[in-house]
């Protein structure tokens, strides 16, 4: 049934589906997991690093990209589509700055990306972008923001969200563990992001990449050592919590 209505993107099926958009959402699930958390004074983006071939230069395989000094995004899905969207967003950020002499707000650039994606769901002969994006940053007033866009061109603000493979598992973890306590300070927010990723990442800390933006500070990418440090602290805390539990029950 679906095959009669998924050839041309502009065709609705009798029950109101745009199959190409739904198939694009499947393409997003093929990308590795990315998680975004909005803290009180910090925004965190964590991604599962894609395994790189032996002879491949790791620097060219990046899931977290800066769009401007105060905005960055992580994506999941088709690499080439992401490159195109990121380039357009970066140009728009600078164009906005030159035109109105103000940096973009996070919501503005998210809306720009979402509008771009929506255009491709309504054009003849073009397929949608096969990526979802998590866009984080701080607005002028110092308010932290996290937005998520998807191939259909919708965007929503989130307190914490995940995209890509196993996003559901990570989202369920966040729903259980995202509390005011957990994001009370920067360190805890970072730990929450890493803990969420460790639920689904296969080989622990060495397959995680992390980026943070603190209020009025530029984007900071964590080094592998810093991530390992955080992971070992998390493991220590886990052990201590388990010891306490066994003492209570024992």
């Amino acid at each position: 049934m679906a095959s009669r209505y998924d050839r041309a993107i502009t065709v609705f099926s009798p029950d109101g589906h745009l199959f190409q958009v739904e198939y694009a959402q499947e393409a997003v699930k093929k990308g590795s997991t990315a998680v975004g958390i909005r803290g009180t004074n910090i925004v965190v983006l964590g991604v599962e690093k894609k395994s790189v071939a032996k002879l491949q230069d790791e620097r060219t395989v990046r899931k977290i990209c800066a769009l401007d000094d105060h905005v960055c995004m992580a994506f999941a899905g088709l690499t080439a589509d992401a490159r195109v969207v990121i380039n357009r967003a970066r140009v728009e950020c600078q164009s906005h700055k030159l035109t109105v002499e103000d940096s973009v707000t996070v919501e503005y650039i998210t809306r720009f990306i979402a509008t771009l994606k929506q255009k491709y769901t309504q054009s003849n002969g073009r397929r949608p972008f096969g990526i979802s994006a998590l866009i984080v940053g701080f607005d002028d007033g110092g308010i932290p923001r996290l937005y998520q866009t998807d191939p259909s061109g919708t965007y929503h603000a989130w307190k914490a969200n995940a995209i890509g493979r196993s996003a559901k598992t990570v989202r369920e973890f966040l729903e259980k563990n995202y509390t005011e306590d957990a994001i009370s300070n920067d360190d805890d927010t970072i730990k929450l992001a890493i803990r969420a990723l460790l639920e689904v990442v296969q080989s622990g800390g060495k397959n995680i990449e992390l980026a943070i933006i603190r209020r009025n500070q530029p984007l900071k990418m964590f080094s592998a050592k810093e991530i390992e440090l955080q992971v070992s602290e998390i493991e220590k805390e886990k052990e201590e919590a388990e010891k306490k539990k066994s003492k209570k029950t024992g």
Binding site: Q25, K30, V52, F75, L78, T79, R165
Partner: protein, 289 residues
């Protein structure tokens, strides 16, 4: 043929059907000797052959007639095979008793007659300490026309009734028909389908209508139903069809079933073996990040 507004070419039903059908049938009957030879060659190419692994000689009788068993566990597809390799086959010594060699359009090798031993994707083992436990690892696709041959050569024409069959396989979650949207499904998840004679409780919920099972697992289950053998199929719906840790681990509840209980002994070691399998099999595709 007719063209739609969007440029699709569709086959329009012909109202003057009767006359056209007769002409087509006559053409089919005019088969030349070359056609017959081609059909014979194709049938030979698509034959399913069951071989003894070491000697590469064909088995004269069906596999289960030669090696009668009480428990037959079949893993179909790379995730099910990885599960059995890591959790079941590492807890005991398994002896290879044969393999099924077959060719169809899905096979990566072009040479049908000389498939190398490393590519024999359908391998049969029995547990050395208890030869009545039989295991099959099937990583290849068995086409519709080959499924009957496979069943005949493995099960034989008159299977023993005291055998219990367990099949493990995967399917993409988008094939799962439900009123919920696939985005909200907790994939990977397990569903079971059993024959009438299977009396034990399944390790997960049963597969609801209108979902159906396809390919070799369906053929095996149908065969078991017809011959009144107790059989159960554990079907894992997943959104990652390639070898994936979460999908393989989704089969873990099956370890509590009667057929697999006692076969999987060293779970932590199994998890390590599975992780090694994953890293060895990671495909370096750059399309998705």
């Amino acid at each position: 043929m007719a063209a739609t507004f969007f440029g699709e070419v569709v086959k329009a039903p012909c109202r003057a059907g009767a006359e056209d059908d007769e002409e087509e049938e006559e053409e089919r009957r005019r088969e030349t000797p070359e056609d017959r030879e081609l059909r014979r060659q194709l049938a030979r190419k698509r034959e399913v052959r069951l071989l003894r692994r070491q000697t590469e000689t064909s088995l004269e009788v069906s596999l289960l007639e030669k090696y009668p068993c009480s428990q037959f566990i079949i893993g179909i597809g790379n995730n099910a095979v990885a599960f059995l390799s890591s959790f079941v086959m590492n807890s005991g010594i398994w002896e290879e008793v044969g393999c099924a060699k077959l060719w169809n359009e899905w096979c990566r090798t072009t040479d049908a007659l000389h498939i190398s031993p490393t590519e024999a994707y359908c391998v049969f083992y029995h547990l050395k300490s208890n030869p009545s436990v039989f295991l099959c690892q099937c990583s290849c696709y068995v086409a519709e026309d080959q499924q009957y041959q496979w069943l005949e050569k493995v099960f034989g024409t008159c299977p023993k009734k005291n055998m219990q069959v367990t099949v493990l396989t995967c399917r993409h979650v988008t094939d799962y028909k439900t009123s919920e949207s696939t985005g909200s499904l907790p994939s990977p998840f397990l569903k079971a389908l059993k024959t009438q004679n299977f009396k034990d409780p399944a390790c997960c919920s049963l597969l609801e209508q209108p979902n159906i099972v396809h390919d070799l697992p369906a053929a095996v289950l149908s065969y078991c139903q017809v011959w009144q053998l107790p059989a159960v199929l554990y079907l894992c719906y997943t959104d990652v069809m390639k070898l994936d840790l979460l999908t393989v681990e989704a089969f873990k509840p099956v370890l509590a079933s009667r057929s697999l209980k006692g076969l999987a002994k060293n779970i932590p070691q199994s998890t390590e073996i599975l992780k090694k399998l994953m890293t060895a099999n990671e495909i370096q595709s750059n399309i998705y990040t």
